[in-house]
Symmetry: C2
Subunit: 296 residues, 2 copies
């Protein structure tokens, strides 16, 4: 999408991997954490939970694993938190796709849960994935991780943003840029910010630089999503495109224009990387992630 970005860093250290491989590894670790936690749980709800979790990019899991590695925390220690954030993310997608919400048929290149099963399985699978996230975090023995994720997922975070988004539909006056910023800070930003700062919280270190980083890439991520809604195609994205423009919905692109949105996304990535300057080279993989969010 944005070809004029610096190349993604390739690592040679023992535990370091090129970005794309590290992303896949984090995603697989989060998926296996969730599958392991569901061993012995049978039936459509458990099946649909696993179905919904599989096939994501694993960006949020990557942010958890890599922000923890910044403080010397092994990925097998941070793994439950990576599973937790992907469980919350998957639950939010299942519920957002429901007929009474965004009414989508396609997600991650597959039929949505309520299309493959039915609506009540979709409601319950989402509910159970949210509970599973807190079960995984509860097992880590760090109450502040629970507090932070619950806040990010709730009415002041993700759910609040989604409510603003749906409330804006069918309203004559489109949202202002400030309102879109507020909406997205909740809807997509809050989970990304939590994921990026989880490592510092686990280590008992100041999370402020990582929160700043996470906040900026969260907005960049949403700008990129808005650009993809205009420029992308459904086959490669695995979900419907052109929905926002078709619905006359205010987006970063409708406010800033396509070039303005791309330029703003690049600025945010630069600012996000600058926020990590105090960590030096150790944060290179996180900087790769920042570039990735606008180059999908």
């Amino acid at each position: 999408m944005l070809a004029d970005q610096p190349p993604v860093t390739t690592k040679t250290d023992n535990d370091d991997l090129p970005f794309a491989q590290a992303l896949t590894r984090a995603r697989d670790l989060a998926e296996s954490t969730i599958c392991d936690a569901l061993v012995g749980a049978e039936g459509d709800v458990a099946d649909s939970m696993i179905y919904a979790v599989k096939g994501g990019k694993g960006l949020r899991a990557f942010l958890v694993i890599e922000s923890a590695r910044l403080f010397g925390i092994d990925r097998f220690v941070s793994r439950p938190a990576a599973g937790a954030i992907e469980a919350i993310h998957a639950y939010s997608l299942i519920h957002d796709d429901l007929p009474c919400m965004d009414d989508d048929d396609l997600r991650r290149g597959k039929p949505t849960v309520h299309r493959k099963w039915n609506e009540h399985i979709a409601v319950l699978a989402g509910d159970a994935l949210q509970a599973l996230a807190f079960e995984l975090l509860g097992g880590m023995g760090r109450a502040e991780l629970t507090l932070g994720l619950a806040n990010a997922a709730g009415v002041r975070g993700m759910v609040g943003g989604q409510a603003m988004d749906i409330a804006a539909e069918g309203v004559a006056t489109p949202l202002s840029l400030d309102e879109i910023m507020q909406l997205q800070a909740g809807k997509t930003g809050a989970l990304i910010r939590w994921a990026a700062s989880a490592g510092a919280v686990m280590a008992g270190e100041d999370p402020a630089p990582l929160e700043s980083f996470g906040g900026k890439i969260g907005i960049a991520f949403q700008i990129a999503d808005d650009i993809l809604d205009v420029e992308g195609d459904a086959a490669s994205l695995g979900k419907a495109v052109g929905k926002d423009a078709g619905a006359g919905k205010a987006t970063f692109v409708s406010h800033l224009g396509l070039d303005g949105a791309k330029s703003r996304a690049r600025e945010l990535v630069t600012e996000a990387c600058d926020a990590l300057s105090s960590y030096g080279d150790k944060a290179d993989c996180l900087k790769d992630a920042a570039r990735f969010v606008i180059s999908r």
Copy 2:
């Protein structure tokens, strides 16, 4: 309903109240905890969260507060856990009432959330109440409370029971008594068991006697519900009655008969009270709660 129970104990100690007043106090404390946590959150989702929480009996909050008092833990310390369990309970009712689930119009004597607002607000309010529960618990700094409630609320607990319940609808062979026991141990039992044992978990004491107590009153509670579905009236219950019998659904009453169900409920209450024998008089208020669940 079951007139031949011993009278409910009246306490005279400073912090002790007659059962009915202690129940009201616990309910009010849970409601105010949730309202306090939502100060500043605006809009339909926050409004509907508070609407859904209000008007319950507060039994689960009472079990948390009183099981904590058994170990000398003040109600202002256990209060977030009381708010958490009522938040989870309220979320489960909102989602269970949805058109794609039990499709109910009336709850706690008021229109259900999706009838008063709409379906997407009902999905989001339930989602945000679940997050709020874990936010309240996260603030207590006791990860084992989070782990236990998440497990009780999830696919192996409440959601699993609800999934079994819906799957049983429209199936030619009615559920066996063992299957109903398993279903209810999840659907209603898991939260009640967590609530009853929360005080021991907070105190770092053995939760086994309280878990046994909670497990038994959980089943007694559901038997009483099945009896009320046959004998009760919608006006005093605040929800629809006769739904199960009308749907030809297997219940404790359909398996045991009305008299057999009442007798089994009484036995369970006696067994539940016996499970608390090691606590002596201090557990009298919890024994009152056991009698209450079958005398609604």
